[in-house]
Symmetry: D2
Subunit: 140 residues, 4 copies
């Protein structure tokens, strides 16, 4: 089912979004699932060492994007149309964030994924997100 490996996805991401190169590590890809890591650095932090909301959003967003890509292949386009996110706990200072993402629907025009985000090594999620991606029809 999976059309792209973690390595191929990483290469593709680096190509298409050079701005985020090195920010995310794809840890595991499986059918309708992906695990992604935010390599937390200075620019993701807020006072107190906590990871910023926009960085958590970015991790959720890229995870669903990559999960969709893994299923439909590289030539495809996919754009976020909706996100709902609950911030539940403060991230641990100076720890990476891990996103456990699962696609609940991989339709022809819409994909829906849910993501739990953890501080590395912790049991309780920092945040949960659900995201809808729209998949435009291929030209030609």
């Amino acid at each position: 089912m999976v059309k792209l490996t973690a390595e191929e996805l990483t290469e593709y991401l680096d190509d298409v979004f050079p701005q985020v190169r090195g920010e995310f590590t794809i840890e595991e890809v499986a059918d309708m699932r992906i695990r992604t890591r935010l390599n937390v650095g200075e620019r993701h932090l807020r006072p107190g060492g906590t990871v910023s909301g926009p960085s958590i959003f970015a991790l959720a967003d890229v995870s669903v994007y990559l999960a969709v890509l893994a299923m439909i292949g590289r030539e495809a386009l996919a754009v976020t149309t909706n996100c709902s996110i609950d911030f539940m706990r403060k991230p641990v200072a100076d720890a990476d964030l891990i996103a456990e993402c699962r696609l609940l629907k991989m339709g022809r025009v819409l994909a829906v994924g849910e993501v739990l985000i953890f501080s590395a090594g912790m049991d309780q999620p920092v945040a949960r997100a659900s995201m809808t991606y729209s998949i435009p029809p291929k030209a030609g």
Copy 2:
């Protein structure tokens, strides 16, 4: 951890919300989890035998409410403050709906739960929902 059994929850629900008596069956209660069934009847249906959106919302809402109640006990109040819901597939005609609910956070003032909803006997979820409940401080 669980303060109320399925039977006690059912009794409490019947007491407090007599309007929905018989609509929901509590199938299983565990730590931070509950499984609830919507006993689909004529009034939940839309043309074509599909279950209405408001009925799916009601099932998600009552499931998180009951999961919270199971954890904090009967004397407590809890009101929905936020819901996000994705409708992903058409429910099967003439089948009950099953909600698999999990609390992701059970805080002092806010609780967050997520719910997957299935047509009975199906593998793919009809909908997913996340809900926040606010728990007002006890009077006195």
Copy 3:
């Protein structure tokens, strides 16, 4: 721009969803906007005379549906794919609910509407909702 009047929308709603006949009144239809009333009755209430969450959801849902229909016409299909709703205040006991709905996007495949819901005669909103409708391509 508007393809259907309030009267035509009412007729259509009665035809297609006979289950909700009499529940909603369409008060005003304009370009990308609609105002809808939930005629609150016994079955919408919870203890204390407050309107139930599922009834508030139903009002938001039908409002966006009707706003979309007013713009694209009767022959079209439209299904809710996502809803986010914030419950902010307790509805006034024994008052109807008024939904002020505005379409923010009326695309070829997706429509997005936002809704503010008030207890009749009150200034402060009871709830806000945003909803996405998917518009399937016409057969044939």
Copy 4:
């Protein structure tokens, strides 16, 4: 009603979040409302010159945060607990983003704001967001 001017808010933001200094301009503060600008730079862009999702999220988030702060004053804490966001149109390349934010509820423990985001000079919104902030009780 408003406890802090645009100038005071800007100063406070620079103090507390030096990481985002210069990124946002507070254009107007009024009772329960604020208008904020994202000064779009290289780091907010994606291929094609469009503004990234995380940057749009950041603008919505900071806008509600500042609107809450303007109402309750500087000594207060406020943390995002929930966000729902719809991405509706592609931002215009090389244009700033403007957020029109309105608080719908400014309660003792929860605040709810909604935001429409536009590319500068455009009529149709790029995105809409709603956010809940939790306001922890003051220590002491």
